[in-house]
Amino acid sequence: MFAQLVDGIFWDIALWVFALGVLWRILSIFRVRNKPDYSVPRGSGLVGAIGANLRRFMPRAEMVSRTRLHVVAGYLFHLGLFALLLFAAPHVLFIEEQTGLGWTPMPYWAFIVAAQLAFIGLLLLWIHRVMHPVTRLISDADDHIAAILTFVVMLTGCMALIEEFDGLRVLHRFMVELWLVYFPFSRLMHAFMFIPSRAFTGAWFGRRGVKA
């Protein structure tokens, strides 16, 4: 019964909440509008916006030694997570079933490597969050809930590899559904909002002729 709900109505609800929630969130942000900028630009805001979106993937040279942990752990987690999300064999199969689009999944050993990298990255970031005085001070419940929920989704995903127990697959899918429902109302929205944030700042500095 629970498995049927998870595979059926719960999944549909989660997807709708995710899609409409993200849309509502983005629209509510852009509904407010910025005031016009009457200053005469020195450089292109558009070029600045695009440049900042690309440049901010890597730290500035001056910051490398001070942000090594953030960068390494951040990339381990995100690359591992995206590899699992898009190339894990069960995910590829699932996407193919849902959309008709399929591609070559990664081999089992690559899944294990990607999962371990993602776990290491996420744990390092979370340990840093609770141990470092700065992140400890500025973090709130949302940061921890988002991290723990993501961890549980990844953990149940690994557990679901034991295909003899369908309950583990159902548990994983249920956790994904919770994650999808939580996403639009949480800090997980950074996955979308980093793009306009970088663009606004890049454009602002770009108009001044500064590469941001």
């Binding site: 407010v32 200053s39 979106n53 500035r60 606004f200 941001a212």
Partner: protein, 422 residues
Amino acid sequence: MSDRLTRGLEAMRAQMDTRVMSYMSSCVHCGICAEACLFYTETGDARYTPIYKTEPLRKLWRQEYTFWGKLAASMGLSSKLAEQDLADWEELVYDGCTMCSRCSLVCPMGIDIAYMIRKVKEGLAAAGFSPEGLVEAGKRAVEIGSPMGVTLKTLQATIRVQEKETGLVIPLDVAGADYLCLLSSGEVAGFPEFIGSLAKIFKATGVSWTLSSEYFEATNTGVQLGNSKMAATLVERVVAAAEKLQVKTVISPECGHAYSTIRWDAPNFIGRPLPFEVVHIMELLDELRSDGRLKTAGFADEKLSYHDPCNAGRRGGVLDQPRKLLNMVAPNFVELPETGAMNWCCGGGGGVSSNERADALRLKVFSAKKRQLDAVRPAALVTACSNCRHMLEDGLEENEMHDIELLGITELIADHLAEENS
């Protein structure tokens, strides 16, 4: 709810725009901004983390603009932004931030944190939580026309001294001149030779210029205080003076925030484009150099380094021009480490220099600048901001770095003008 809290909240609500809401929605609380802030790196105090300084604005955003925040507030599960929050953040925002924007260049989410701190200031200022020194400077700026209380008589006396020293006429209220030059009170009071240097360079290069007796102040305390209304009032005075003299271009002097204000923020304060162009004095000198009108002779042979004023460089885009000018006269020019757009602040920007309460903290965080200087150990440090120069003087004195001379770039160029110019 008290009146002052109401005023503060209203002022902060008025600051909510797409940028702020995007920034709030993208921050992952990674803390990287702390590593770029001299108040954190030099004190180790986590409260100086730049994004933490925006906490009042974030709290307001969360309780009024987010699903969970609104839900929690409606159920009485969250504490609302209170007057005490504003009181608690006054010191962090005004004493512990120079609005240098270094943090804004390093955030992986691309958040312009200084932009948001500026908005927090609007709320604090409206609620009356601003440092006394800065409030008084603001009053003097509005009532006298100068945050330091420099009057027209003082300017006229300074002009007379400079005319005597240079043997040149310093034009005042010349209608139809090409350029109106603004001055910062810091220059008039502390570095009057800047005015004489301008006279020498403009005479040599044939630039038609003038000062205005109507309004000469370049700085804008409204910006430092976080009072947009005051900022607009002061900008309108510049506009009126420029329009009265029918100038096409206004020159921002050697002052970082004066430049970023009049060049970039001023039109937005008054809600319309400025009726004139604005150039930083470095931009104009560099233009004269590239046109072949500005020629120098001889060199300053000692090892020179350059301190980028944050608001002229990082927030203003005047980064290459001073270097091209220095290359004309300084064969031993050496860059400081972490320079240009990532230069470390002098510690006194954003109104901190007018806030006596922050003096001890300002001198403590000068250690970032000291580290840069220790790596190069120049004989002289050149800058293009009188406020930076004052702050650097203080810092060097405090750290007994008496072997480093401080120079203004305009004076350095004026001292090396070629005979053929004239």
